[in-house]
């Protein structure tokens, strides 16, 4: 089983490579990267001229809703959405039903992914039982079962004493805590950002301080315990400033940002479209600028979609009743190629690094590079593809995107997992690589 990806612009930030090259894959691993490689007998050849060949993109923040909410998304549909969007690996959050707070749920997710998934799936375990924020989940067993991080994402662990214990207890596992930083007493009842838009629309808002207060707390606790804390979906200029200062002091804090927080502001809410409602909420232009700057300078370590599928019925009613969250896997790459890379706000190589090398390092995952001998997870982008976002064509089971109808230039073209081209239309289980455990 051999694959030769010929003549593409190979961008491999982990190896400082950005040149037109060939990539040869044999037996599921990268065999060689170089110019004018010869194709051995029986090699499948992909002509990648004019395309960008990069390490498989990794999304460390998705919600696949299985078990429990299969009407929103399943591991089968979610991984197909991921592959269609150019991702070769995802990490899925614990707020399923039942919550992924025990080994049996982790095992279920892993088994489902092995049978029905088409990209690698890494489970994230809950920090507290049932996400109630009261007692620790069985964290050691979750780590043993293959959870690559711990998070109550969707909720904030408000009890600082308990969160401190979680940080200490998980120290030996080398898996970070991922913080949904939102002070619930400051965000109670809020649907959107607090500011001129919430004032005009008469919707309760939550201030940026609701996030900043918790980011500051988590940084202080990480400093106290020596633990690695990762800030999910950073949305404020304050978070960028706090993380930048903490990193300069040597605190083990990392952060991610979503595509929607990088390109949309609270102004989008004026449409009353519930697909502009998510937690944290869309913020201001000043916040967006700070997030882009933080992503460019490395304060923010990676991009993650926070892919949060919801059924139409959960999004079409009154704004304040609508569910929080938007899908992202199938629009993320195109949105950022078009809105950040094309206007020159972010170099292509940085975008790729923040979506492959850096998340892989952050969670200790295999991949994120095209180094010889590593698993052949490869994403090929077409920088010139033009398409209009059409939710009816999503592979995801849900359609809740704020980007419907956006004309975008550039997007994913081909996804290779473990040396095999992923055909998203493929039937259940066909050509599926197993999810690999933390090496």
């Amino acid at each position: 089983m051999k694959l030769l990806i010929k003549g593409g612009r190979v961008v491999d930030p982990a190896n400082g490579l950005d040149a037109v090259s060939d990539v040869l894959v044999t037996d599921g691993t990268i065999a060689k990267v170089g110019k004018h490689l010869k194709a051995p007998e029986g090699t499948e050849i992909v002509d990648a001229a004019g395309k960008v060949v990069c390490p498989g993109l990794i999304d460390i923040h998705v919600h696949f809703r299985e078990p429990g909410y299969e009407y929103k998304e399943t591991i089968a549909t979610g991984t197909r959405a991921a592959a269609a969007g150019g991702f070769t690996a995802v990490a899925c959050m614990a707020n399923t039903f039942p919550v992924n707070d025990s080994r049996s749920v982790t095992d279920y997710i892993t088994a489902k992914a092995r049978v029905e998934g088409v990209v690698r799936v890494y489970p994230i375990g809950a920090v507290t039982r049932n996400l109630h924020g009261e007692e620790l989940a069985e964290l050691a067993e979750l780590a043993e079962a293959g959870c690559v991080a711990f998070s109550d994402d969707g909720r904030c662990v408000m009890n600082a004493g308990l969160y401190r214990r979680a940080m200490e207890y998980t120290l030996p596992f080398g898996a970070p805590l991922i913080s949904h930083a939102e002070d619930a007493t400051l965000s109670r009842g809020a649907s959107i950002n607090e500011g001129v838009v919430s004032t005009e629309l008469g919707l309760p808002g939550q201030p940026a301080a609701a996030e900043d207060v918790m980011v500051a707390r988590d940084i202080l606790l990480a400093e106290l315990t020596g633990a690695h804390v990762h800030i999910a979906h950073a949305s404020t200029a304050g978070t960028v400033r706090l993380v930048r200062d903490a990193k300069a002091r040597g605190v083990r804090v990392t952060a991610e940002v979503t595509p929607h927080h990088l390109v949309l502001t609270e102004d989008a809410v004026r449409t009353w479209d519930a697909n502009t409602k998510m937690a944290p909420p869309l913020r201001t232009k000043r916040d967006v600028e700070a997030l882009i700057e933080g992503l460019a300078d490395g304060t923010i370590d990676c991009i993650a979609t926070d892919h949060a599928p919801h059924a139409l019925s959960e999004k079409e009613g009154e704004f304040d009743q609508a569910a929080f969250g938007v899908v992202g896997l199938e629009t993320a790459v195109a949105v950022l190629l078009d809105r950040l890379v094309r206007p020159g706000l972010l170099p292509l190589a940085t975008l790729i690094a923040r979506w492959s090398r850096d998340p892989a390092r952050l969670l200790g995952l295999p991949g994120g590079t095209l180094s010889v001998g590593t698993p052949a997870d490869v994403t090929i982008l077409d920088p010139d593809a033009e398409a209009t976002v059409d939710p009816s064509r999503f592979h995801s089971r849900s359609r809740n995107t704020p980007f419907a109808g956006w004309p975008l230039r550039g997007g994913p073209w081909l996804t290779v997992v473990g040396g095999k081209i992923v055909r998203v239309a493929s039937r259940r289980g066909a050509g599926v690589p197993p999810a690999e455990a933390n090496p």
Binding site: S198, T199, G202, P207, W272, S313, G317, F319, D320
Partner: protein, 308 residues
């Protein structure tokens, strides 16, 4: 100008000329209330549905009378005791009502944005009769009509709105409407009840009642909801009333021709003293009377009539 708008959802959306059209039309409707037979055939054969998801006496009655005086068939639908209680979604209920071919749906909803959602999905006209803390456009129109009647004009007047601005749809609609008509608006209240970035809506903000009302041509007192204490917005009704209540003593420093308004229902003794509510400055009952005329004008224009 010809009326082209399908819906009346917010004062933020509409043009000053449209406001003038609606006020002029409302003025011409007032005469009907003085007739012995209070009925004109303008909307005969038209159907108006009052879809009320939140308790309301004044506004619903006002729309009902307005529709009936114009000879429309008016149907009242309230969420309690209806399919909404059986779990039917807001949109489903509205679509079911639309399937019965009404011409205008008047909607009151506790959720901000409810009427905008309906306006987007329904082919018939939608009138916002108050949505959450967003807007209450017919209230702003009746307030403008009342002020214009008493003062003869709108442009250049100073209006001070006092109280819980944060949770008030009346304040928001009036701010938009008054700004569009060239009036100066000051909002006053404790900082916890003034929404963030309020100045960006083009108003002045004051945290001292005396200062805020000293030069006002119009003072509009807002109702204080009793549950605001539990949200930590104010410590007690007693303290609120002492600091922000409008009594006769405070009126001494105001203009002699000041108008006192209140959208109702009034908490006598909390935001306004009984003496002030019943004083010669008060136009609170004129507001109610004008409410019917304004709603007649709105129904008439949306259902196809021409502006006066």
């Amino acid at each position: 100008m010809p009326w082209t708008r399908k819906d009346l959802v917010s004062m933020q959306d509409i043009e000053p000329a449209e406001i003038t059209d609606m006020l002029d039309t409302a003025e011409s409707m007032k005469e009907i209330a003085t007739r012995e037979i209070k009925k004109v055939p303008a909307l005969r054969g038209k159907t108006v549905v009052n879809l009320f998801y939140e308790a309301s006496t004044r506004t619903r009655t006002s729309f009902e009378i307005a529709g009936k005086w114009l000879s429309a068939d008016v149907i009242n639908f309230s969420a309690s005791g209806s399919s909404a209680e059986k779990g039917e979604s807001f949109l489903d209920t509205a679509k079911n009502i639309e399937a019965m071919s009404p011409d205008v749906v008047v909607v009151r909803h506790k959720a901000s944005g409810g009427p905008a959602l309906l306006a987007r999905h329904l082919k018939c006209s939608v009138v916002n009769a108050g949505d959450g803390a967003h807007e209450h456009p017919t209230q702003a129109l009746l307030d403008l009509l009342t002020i214009r009647e008493r003062k003869g004009h709108l442009e250049g007047l100073n209006v001070t709105i006092v109280g819980d601005i944060t949770h008030s749809r009346v304040a928001r609609s009036n701010i938009h409407g008054m700004r569009k008509m060239g009036m100066t608006v000051t909002v006053a209240g404790p900082p916890t009840l003034i929404p963030p970035a309020c100045q960006e809506m083009g108003v002045k903000v004051s945290h001292r009642l005396e200062e805020a009302i000293a030069h006002a041509d119009v003072i509009m007192m807002l109702r204080l909801q009793h549950e605001r204490m539990t949200g930590g917005f104010i410590p007690s009704l007693r303290e609120y009333s002492r600091v922000w209540g409008l009594g006769l003593d405070r009126l001494k420093h105001c203009r002699p021709d000041v108008l006192i308004m209140h959208p109702g229902p009034v908490n006598r003794g909390v935001e306004i003293s009984p003496e002030v509510a019943d004083s010669q400055y008060s136009v609170i009952l004129d507001q109610v009377t004008n409410g019917v005329a304004v709603r007649m004008a709105v129904l008439y224009l949306l259902a196809g009539g021409k502006a006066a």
